[in-house]
């Protein structure tokens, strides 16, 4: 099945693309799909902590609504990934 990913700000810089469509196997979670991406260590370090968990400052949005990393993806899902920066 095919999933569309849209990246914002510094995540986009690390990914090197604004959007991409990725083929994943049935039953793949959002966490696993992101772990399998091949965008280099900068991308991985931005998204994951040392234990491999998605960092608290990462916002995952699936089909318009926030989603947990454990979310099982479905064919045609659209995923947005955003990480706000400090300041207010």
């Amino acid at each position: 099945m095919k999933i569309t990913f849209v990246y914002f700000a510094q995540i986009r810089q690390k990914a090197g693309v604004e959007t991409e469509t990725v083929a994943v196997a049935d039953g793949t979670t959002l966490h696993d799909a992101l772990q399998a991406m091949d965008h280099g260590t900068g991308f991985r370090e931005l998204l994951f902590d040392g234990a491999g968990a998605v960092r608290a400052v990462i916002l995952l949005v699936v089909n318009g609504l926030p989603a947990a990393p454990e979310r099982v993806l479905k064919d045609g899902d659209s995923v947005q990934i955003f990480s706000p920066v400090a300041g207010g």
Partner: protein, 268 residues
């Protein structure tokens, strides 16, 4: 001829004089403003004149202030804004300025939440005063807002916001504002509020530190109902701090997004 006195239209006979009008409408007024100029001498009135009669130190009634708001914003705009409820999470550089802007446009109810107190370092960008150091931000901001518009209803919550208390505090808002400083707290709101109220817009901010270009601050749509103000990238860090101009630009852009969303919302 028609003139406006304290933003209300009034029919006058030709040849009517300014001070006679004052004596008839507000004899205790000690400042008479005609078409923007304070007047020390009596003059005849002409069609279309705008007169403001003020008694120093007197707080206008709710009706008088509303007449002023209606005149400035037009009746349709004011009615929509007056019936609105806006929640603001975080009362720092963003939240305090957003609250003031929304009080000035006459938003009917503001729900304000912050656990913190006013510190000296806040004064470089946050809408507090040196004599408010040490006060809770909720109470200090409420005092400042009441000096601007005493008729805005304020719900104050001096608490640390968590996923568990978002619903009781902000469950009934028309528009929600994220105005936190820390990135993880921003994500906490952006992750949990849309899950709680997917039908309600959330206006967030990211990327407003320093003194870089103001032109890079924009509004980015995210998800079904989120709007992120800022350049998305410029974080506060040592040597590149949060400063009043850029934080203020972002705050007022957030406030304008709120106002636009309130005007666009469907009302029953």
């Amino acid at each position: 001829m028609k003139i406006r006195v304290n933003e209300r239209v009034r029919e006058m006979d030709p040849g009517a004089m300014l001070f006679a009008l004052r004596d008839a409408v507000k004899p205790d007024a000690d400042i008479v403003i005609l078409n923007g100029a304070a007047m020390g001498a009596d003059v005849p009135l002409t069609d279309g004149d705008e007169i403001c009669l003020i008694r120093r130190g007197e707080i206008p009634s709710a009706d008088e202030l509303e007449a002023l708001m209606v005149a400035r914003h037009s009746p349709g705009v004011h009615a929509r804004v007056k019936s609105a409820v806006v929640g603001i999470a975080g009362l720092g550089g963003l939240g305090s300025a957003i609250a003031i802007a929304l009080a000035r446009v006459g938003v009917g109810r503001l729900i304000l939440a912050d656990f913190d107190v006013v510190e000296p370092s806040n004064l470089n960008r946050q809408q507090y005063f040196v004599d408010q150091l040490g006060l809770r931000k909720t109470e200090a901001l409420a005092a400042n807002l009441r000096r601007i518009n005493p008729y805005v209803a304020l719900d104050l919550h001096t608490v640390r916001l968590t996923p568990d208390n978002l619903a009781p505090i902000f469950g009934g808002v028309d528009v929600m504002v994220e105005a936190f400083d820390r990135a993880d707290q921003k994500v906490m709101i952006m992750r949990n509020f849309p899950a709680l109220r997917p039908d309600i817009p959330l206006v967030a901010a990211s990327g407003l530190a320093g003194f870089g270009s103001e032109a890079t601050i924009g509004v980015t749509p995210l998800g079904r109902n989120m709007h992120v103000v800022g350049d998305l990238e410029t974080a506060a860090r040592p040597g590149w701090g949060l400063m009043a101009p850029r934080v203020g630009i972002a705050a007022h852009m957030q406030a304008n997004v709120v106002l636009r969303l309130l005007m666009e919302r469907k009302t029953s």
